[in-house]
Symmetry: C2
């Protein structure tokens, strides 16, 4: 979930001040409403060292009625705590109905810091994750709202902050040897955090990543997110009371993780480079294809992207030199009658590739969180749930040895318009453009925010998303091929090592 | 879940014929209703070899409209299947809305037979269980009804059946070498099955154990259970449609697993034996208590039972020779105001013992599935969910090294009446008997069926239930002490071996 996060996000002072004033008032009001409705709330602050958890908690509680919340700092466990199951210290700190508990580090310590320090055996990890999932499910089933925030900064930023803290007499004690160790081995800690986020990003208690470089941006995102969650909980409570469902737009769109906006669409490639690269990559791919066949490695490639972004072209270039007995392309359109009376993932399960074969999906199961979400073909709870369901499906494939990669072919709005018009004017391409394409285009912003959320929630170590800058078709096709080649090479290497 | 099952259950021919006629008609009707409502249904048959899965499936489908169901026999996986993730063969066999799929062995093969044969590494088990849980959760979230039946017979019965099959030329091919291996190592296969049942007995897809010795009893229980589940699903669907909840009694009470009825309440003990045993056990217990303290083993003992069954007396005898610094007794009554605004498990979490200490609960968290269930203090979905929640809590404690034992002190209705009257007539004991006790007594049958379900669903390898025959107080007290002594001895031995 972390690799797709843009850490350079910031806001100016003016915007911060305005947001703070506006959201503080809103949050104060919501806190009172939650108190009346008897809704208990837990807010979890996790993240990198020196990412500003303490500061952010302080800022957030300024907006809250102090009679209604408690803050718990969860440093190393005490003797008393170590003598009990690790969730005990949190069960005993549950907020009563109508109260808020804020946690500076939490039960996630067990599967991050303690794991990093080798204090819990790897063997005990599955149990720990299951214990955590049960814990949160039990509480949310009972009406608890759990808001989980992960504060994220880069290795360099962390180092800078540690140095600054150490330089001052007053704060130098705050930087420990363990902190420096986690900075030196930042990559390993990141991996552990990544796994933790993926395994516990549940529908009933999802994670929100907070870009922590700019403190003001982080504060604004946190307060807005917390207010949104409380509002949502109150709405749910009312809905359950009145037994009717209604969709209300979420307010915090401007603080969503904008993965797409970070893509550099000016990337380009000349025809000569393209031809040369293409020749080289195709030869490699041919040889890799026969190797994965012999090694019985299944491969799943998913293609999503804007209309006219060039999915078809990229797939064509990818397959043109593959042995047709070893791959299959599955185009996905609206579900047919038979598919409609099955689970939405069923039709994709029918096309899971055999070991040694490649399945290429032109549009995929991600329709659930894109078109079905935007067009209201499924309910809010259904598409929210889908992130976890999709991750579980891809994880199951990966557990069975599959290489799983998803491509998002990205163009900007102007480029799309240009391509739409070209299609309309070219008789041989007119069939490719319909009224519906123009209608979808009008919902560009809604789609963009859905794509951003999808990329963050479903880009995993076992099935990563690759954003392909596709304003230049040459560049895009080469990036797709290169990614596939590299992924296969790495899997083949791993597979040979293990056998 | 299996140890509490009474395998001697049977019914006479007349009853079977009547049930069959009545339930077949009911089931046929329900199948049509499910078809109209578009509810897909999966019925899973798992269990011991020769427990009669094939026969039972055959009998069940007699009642069904053949145009509405499919039967899948899941023998060893095919080449095609082995080349894909293990759930693939089941995803592709999902019934469409309104259809029924019956599985003779299922996805559970992976965590039972394949595991028994060493074909999947122990390391891969947590993943497999998680994959199975996700699979069932995803489907039931989507409206699928999953009915899981486990056919259970004893080692001796199995052997008898294998011999009978082998004796006939027509059926001898059905008994394989693998079958005999599983019979020889019946104990190990039982353990594996037990773990499978516990880890996958989810609220959304619970297991039903079918006592398989008497085929007619099994058939009657299966058809009634399936009909109940369909009826329940239709009701849920309607409730969701109408947005209102209503409790309707389940019909199949007579096929519930009657653990209690198997208890031999005539067990007794003379005063002399009692005194002698008591002296011996207390000395042992004293020494064990200091050992668990040194070895830092936490102990959780829960006491439940009928009113006047002698919980207090048994606890008193247990603790009278313990060092008071090392144990604590927690009486549980109706929740107070503070407890009422927390999760129902919260107050018990507050009393989780430290390593090396003993916590004794006089009445426990099982109130959720007993008094709260019977008196309607919580909703049906809440107490149904509680079995899993409680198992998870106890498993978490066991993961942290705790010994967890639960005692059900069992007396019969006559004995209770005798004791109630004694209390009323004895001025020093009058305070112990209230109007409420008499009222509870009127609901004896309801409680009995709730207790039976509780014993089956929450007796686990890591936290077993012990039914204590308590018509004779001497016998009961000694059995409690003996059980505790043996459990501590075994844990101490294990702990010493590991250190």
């Amino acid at each position: 979930m972390l690799e797709k996060i843009d850490l350079s996000k910031k806001i100016d002072k003016e915007t911060y001040k305005d947001t703070k004033t506006e959201q503080s008032e809103r949050l104060g009001l919501l806190q009172r409403e939650c108190k009346e409705a008897g809704i208990p709330v837990m807010i979890v602050f996790e993240g990198m060292g020196a990412s500003g958890k303490g500061t952010q908690i302080n800022r957030l509680i300024q907006a809250l009625d102090p009679r209604g919340f408690d803050v718990y700092a969860n440093d190393k466990s005490t003797e008393e705590e170590r003598m009990r199951p690790f969730l005990w210290r949190f069960w005993t700190k549950l907020p009563a109905q109508g109260r808020i508990a804020l946690f500076d580090r939490s039960w996630y310590r067990q599967v991050t810091i303690e794991r990093f320090e080798g204090k819990i055996p790897e063997m005990a990890l599955p149990e720990a994750f299951q214990d955590i999932q049960s814990f949160e499910r039990q509480l949310t089933d009972d009406g608890m709202v759990i808001i989980k925030l992960f504060l994220y900064i880069s290795k360099e930023e962390q180092k800078k902050r540690f140095n600054r803290l150490e330089a001052s007499k007053e704060t130098s004690w705050r930087v420990t040897e363990e902190d420096w160790k986690r900075n030196k081995e930042y990559g390993r800690f990141l991996e552990i955090s990544e796994e933790m986020l993926q395994r516990t990003d549940m529908d009933y208690a999802p994670w929100t990543i907070i870009e922590g470089t700019d403190r003001e941006y982080a504060s604004a995102k946190i307060i807005t997110q917390v207010a949104d969650c409380l509002e949502d909980a109150l709405r749910q409570r009312k809905i359950r009371g009145e037994r009717k469902e209604k969709e209300v737009p979420v307010r915090s769109e401007k603080y969503q993780s904008g993965v797409l906006s970070g893509a550099d669409l000016s990337k380009t490639m000349t025809k000569e480079e393209y031809k040369r690269e293409m020749r080289r990559l195709k030869e490699t791919l041919e040889s890799l294809h026969s190797q994965i066949y012999r090694l019985r490695i299944p491969v799943v490639l998913g293609f999503e992207g804007w209309d006219a972004a060039g999915k078809g072209g990229a797939i064509k270039r990818l397959t043109s030199h593959l042995d047709p007995r070893g791959y299959k392309v599955y185009p996905t359109s609206a579900p047919n009658d038979l598919e409609r009376v099955h689970h939405y993932l069923w039709r994709f399960w029918n096309h899971v590739p055999k070991a040694g074969h490649i399945a290429i999906f032109d549009r995929t199961w991600y329709g659930r969180v894109l078109v079905e979400r935007i067009e209201g073909f499924c309910s809010k709870s259904e598409w929210k749930q889908a992130y976890q369901e999709i991750n579980e499906m891809e994880n199951h494939m990966a557990n069975a040895g599959a290489v799983v990669i998803k491509f998002w072919l990205h163009i900007d709005k102007d480029e799309q318009e240009k391509r739409f018009k070209e299609r309309q004017e070219n008789p041989s391409k007119q069939w490719k453009i319909t009224e519906e394409d123009w209608r979808n285009r009008e919902k560009w912003d809604q789609y963009e925010s859905a794509v951003n959320e999808m990329l963050v929630r479903t880009s995993t170590t076992y099935a990563p998303w690759v954003v392909v800058e596709a304003n230049c078709k040459y560049y895009a096709r080469i990036k797709v091929l290169k990614t596939v080649v590299e992924a296969l090479e790495s899997e083949i290497k791993k597979s040979k090592k293990n056998s």
